[in-house]
């Protein structure tokens, strides 16, 4: 299947900085795709290259397989929702929403019908006469969505769509964006720096670092099978044990062999384990099959459902993190300074070659 929008080995430099460095990716029909990464990783530049606001130094932008690199932004059948929403302050809500159709030369009842439809879609039908400065942040965002969606673009580009909203509203709008995407069937390409947002909304995520795609995968794969150290550290919390890959695991100085799948070569390697994969015991355990580490509790952070226990292990500069469900006996009895034993099965660790 051809992607709706795709970039092919696209690159863009600003002076000495490679903002986007030979990126190739495609968004499928009806897909919710997220570009995730820290600020300055090139994700917004990539979005602007697709919208046509930046010209690539090399590479192509493709729409349904057709090269649109040379087409100016006002003639590309993709639309953008700006981070600031970029509503026209001197026009009413309906003026903003109908603007795109007006530019297509559409007039009269057909246009009014489409505007009403778009406003209904974002549930703003009764605010059509208002001006942007009379709207709340969430309402403005809906106007921006309606304004972009009314053009029925092949793909909608969203630049940090939720960044300007407060936390509670953000959660609601995540659901709303998914609903809109589902109802319209338009491919969404969203840029975000917020991993939770990306994990919650996207079908697929491209995690970017320094202008390149570090990993492109489903949210689950990204979380559970990070391809490298950067991905593992960026998404969620992670324990890292530095050492050398050996048969059956990773050899870590001071801790011996930590068993894991995929160790082999003898090269430098890191074993990565999620804190929720660690089980904490208050008494020594010995297990042939699992990995065990003994240490002292140095911090307990209460997170509600869980608590995060940090355990200082001899030879490790950073404490090992373990997530303990609050409603357990262990959680009730663990205290600062107490000696504990952490355990995890080999298949829960992941060997990352560095």
């Amino acid at each position: 299947m051809t992607a709706v929008v795709a970039v092919d080995a696209i690159a863009k430099r600003f002076g000495a900085v490679a903002a986007v460095d030979e990126v190739t990716l495609g968004v499928a029909e009806g897909e919710f795709f997220a570009l995730l990464g820290p600020s300055g990783c090139g994700k917004t530049t990539l979005l602007r290259l697709i919208a046509g606001f930046e010209r690539p130094d090399t590479g192509r932008v493709l729409l349904d397989g057709r090269d649109i690199t040379a087409i100016p932004p006002n003639r590309r059948p993709v639309n953008m929702m700006f981070q600031s929403y970029a509503l026209f302050p001197h026009m009413s809500v309906s003026g903003n929403v109908s603007y795109g159709l007006e530019m297509e030369g559409m007039k009269g009842p057909e246009r009014s019908r489409r505007v009403a439809e778009a406003l209904d879609l974002v549930r703003l039908g009764d605010l059509a006469k208002r001006r942007p400065d009379q709207l709340s942040g969430g309402q403005r965002q809906r106007v921006a969505l309606a304004r972009a969606l009314i053009k029925r673009p092949r793909a909608l580009l969203l630049d940090e769509p939720l960044a300007a909203l407060d936390k509670k509203l953000r959660g609601e709008m995540q659901v709303e964006l998914k609903r809109l995407q589902h109802e319209t069937g338009i491919a969404f390409l969203v840029v975000t720096h917020d991993q939770e947002e990306a994990l919650a909304m996207a079908d697929r995520i491209a995690l970017m670092q320094d202008g390149r795609v570090a990993q492109m995968d489903s949210p689950r794969a990204l979380y559970e099978r990070p391809a490298n150290r950067f991905v593992a550290g960026f998404i969620g919390l992670m324990n890292f044990f530095e050492g050398r890959a050996a048969a059956g695991g990773v050899e870590v100085e001071g801790l011996g062999l930590l068993k894991a799948e995929g160790g082999q070569s003898g090269e430098a390697a890191t074993l990565a384990v999620r804190p929720e994969r660690l089980r904490v015991h208050l008494a020594p355990i010995s297990s042939e099959s699992a990995n065990t580490l003994a240490g002292t509790v140095v911090d307990i952070s209460y997170l509600g459902q869980d608590q995060l226990v940090r355990v200082r292990v001899a030879g490790q500069s950073t404490p090992v993190m373990a997530r303990v469900a609050s409603a357990t006996d262990v959680a009730a009895r663990v205290t600062l300074g107490r000696k504990v034993w952490c355990e995890w099965p080999p298949e829960d660790g992941r060997v990352l070659l560095t």
Partner: protein, 261 residues
Amino acid sequence: MLKAPLSRRVLGAHLGLVYLFLYGPIAVLVALSFNESGLPTAWTGFSVEWYGKMLANAAIRAAVVNTLIVAAFSTLIATAIGTLLALGMERLRSSAAMDAAIYMPMIIPDIVLAIALLSFFTALDFTLGLHSIIAAHAVFNIAFVCVVVRATLKHFDKSIVEASIDLGASESRTFLRITLPVIFPGVLSGALLAFTLSVDEFIIAYFTAGAGPSSTTFPMQIYSMIRFGVTPEINAVATIVLGVSFVLILVSQRLRRDEPL
């Protein structure tokens, strides 16, 4: 900022004095314009006689017409060019050199600009008249309009221009439908300021007007009234001129709503 009530009161009193200093002399002129005797020392009764005399003065009327012509055209030119200049400067990565160029006509002593323009027009054998005053006034007015419009552009969200293009508008359409309407209050504010400055400008007009009453502007008329025989009529003229300037400047400020210039 200041907590101590004593220092606050002292500052307040001082500020009051400053306003008295600034507006006292103006108030005196306004009062005098309604004094029947026209003398500053004796109030002989309320009268609008001096306003009548002023209106009956053909030289004043002709000068006012000239000034309005000069101000209207120089404002028109300066508003168009100054706005473009401001928009252009927004596109420069570093505008330090341009900033300096813009401030030049604002701070160069009027007398220097006046003699320079006189030398220039004479060297080119250019016939002096209202048109040369218009060209001269446009020089500093372009600078002022540019500064005012730039202040407006500071609050201008450039992504609305991209949004318009993204929605299918061409560049020229975006300019007419989006950029211009949004910055319009700033443009109008600059235009009003330019108009006021042109109406009030004396020295440059004096040097670039050429000989003869056909291009005498209102400030030139006022200068000769002050210089060669003060008649009480001038108080009426002063009141009208200050009143008109104040209104124009207040409207200009109101349109901008941000920091005053």
